[in-house]
Symmetry: C2
Amino acid sequence: MKLTRRAARPTLKQLAEEAGVSIGTASNILSGKTQLHSPETVERVLSVARQLGYRPNRVARSLAARRTHTVGVVVEPQHAVFTRNPYVTAVLDGVVDSLTPRGYHLKIITLSDLNPRTLWHQIDDGTVDGVILVAPLIGSPLLDYHAHTQLPCVVVGSTLPESLGFYCIDADNEAMMRLLTEYLIGMGHRRIGFVKGPDNQWSAQQRLQAYLSAMDAHGIRVDAEWIAPSNYEYSGGLAAAQQLLEVRPRLTAIIASNDMVALGVLDACVQRGVRVPTDVSVVGFDDVPLAALAKPPLTTIRIPIHDIGLEAAQALLHQIEAGETLRGARLVQGELIVRKSAAPPRKAKA
Amino acid sequence: MKLTRRAARPTLKQLAEEAGVSIGTASNILSGKTQLHSPETVERVLSVARQLGYRPNRVARSLAARRTHTVGVVVEPQHAVFTRNPYVTAVLDGVVDSLTPRGYHLKIITLSDLNPRTLWHQIDDGTVDGVILVAPLIGSPLLDYHAHTQLPCVVVGSTLPESLGFYCIDADNEAMMRLLTEYLIGMGHRRIGFVKGPDNQWSAQQRLQAYLSAMDAHGIRVDAEWIAPSNYEYSGGLAAAQQLLEVRPRLTAIIASNDMVALGVLDACVQRGVRVPTDVSVVGFDDVPLAALAKPPLTTIRIPIHDIGLEAAQALLHQIEAGETLRGARLVQGELIVRKSAAPPRKAKA
DNA sequence: ATGAAAGCGCTAACAT
DNA sequence: ATGTTAGCGCTTTCAT
């Protein structure tokens, strides 16, 4: 047990020398294959490691083993502001919860530009064993994924067409939006407005279609002016509601295609003295944490976003470790959360 | 220009052969040192790279160059739920905005346990060039940082004692809380309650002290029951307010030590029929995006969290690239944002 | 049970 | 201007 110079970080080689074993032996023992060696050797190596403060260099390990134990979460520029994106944040939480206990690490890949020339260098650069694509957009170069890389991948938050060859985990947007629309219809609403999301979001399209088809199924003609666009954010809800509140005769309900938008709609109502739900019902989608805190508390569809992130990471690790490629879509069901922002229309009440 | 087998990912060596140059030449050219070589060679190498779909293996590059171009953001377990932590989220946004344009990558290091034996393996494993410590807690093993690693580091969201040897970027909690308290006092409030943050948060302690000393400076005796604890979250604000609303004679104002807590306080008031700001003034701290959306909109202190994250990343990159070690604290000033949740006490009004 | 040796794919001297 | 070579720190056969 002689004194060790604490100059630079010790390497495996130094450790092995100090312990009087070969570098291969040290490697085995430190990566858990202890049953291959005699108890005394194991003990000696471990104790020298402790004493030296040895820490394996994960970069070297990754290079040699061709495994990084890291997964990348790829975020489109449009989503990259976490502060405004409770959805991405919740997915991230789920991913972390799944990765951490399994010893995997997390790299955030925020695409600065979508230049197809450099895009794949950022994603498939050898530093990750697989990636999670968060809500890729319609028309995104990311959809060309399989033409550019073999990296295991799972998509979250967008249900992509089968033909693209992805494995997607997402809310069942259509079923859930149908449920929500029919909830309102069942209450007696007929003149129901809709604030749609960005045209380049798959989920936005699916939610819109489901609304449209539910209305149609109930024989309700949807006027073009009942539909207003938004950016899926608070500001978009605010603006959209200004427009929808002008419609005459009045809409009795407004479906916002996500909660942030619904919060904007709510505030627009307050600003114009429109009472919710007395004058107009407002509902959201996702059930982000803020939804319950809204005034009034938002009736919405709860999507288990955290669990989706969790499951996505699990599916990815499975692909990585089993070397098996998943395909198709896993549609996760949500549930209607009835709070205070929706009520039967006044006419029906009276 | 013959056909290339698209079997496995091409390596530098293959590329070099294909282009008829040495591996060193190829390396130089692909890492931008093009002026060392003849234009024809450069062109040839680049074109072969394009044609082969060559992507450098960043792991190998990192090992050889001993630079990963990656920074780690270290998050304590207590903060690790992004969904509930607008502060961390905002810091992250700032960090990303600073890193991405500079070609650095981001690794999220969420500590699962704080076992001092394995802690440093997670942080200093060769995969990052430096780290940002997000709001390390009082008593955290992270504070032993410098005894365990030489990795460049900057601390964000905690102003640590100088003696610990860190470079910290943080809000000037004391000055800002003094400002806030004096704003209330200046309005005529005397009986001002305080919802403190967790005892293991530096910022919480600093904010509490500043409140105490501001009150003292104005000759106001603070009763122990005017102070309630919280977890810095909505739920904590809710609970704390229940308690503070019982104080007799009544408090005329409540300072929440951050915005999430203030939102809880606001809701507790609503639940008990206490009007804000008519019956009691409520103020927050941080100015997270939700603060403006609260009912009523929250009077608070704006902390430029995003900029703090941005600056932290910049300071870190500076240390990494210049090899220079920073120390001490950079205190960032905020500003009072007057909205609707605070007003003079009724007595003073009448 | 242990050691020796050949890489993993790249960078960076150094040589030419 | 280009090529050669010695690693970076580790994993993993393959011998012994």
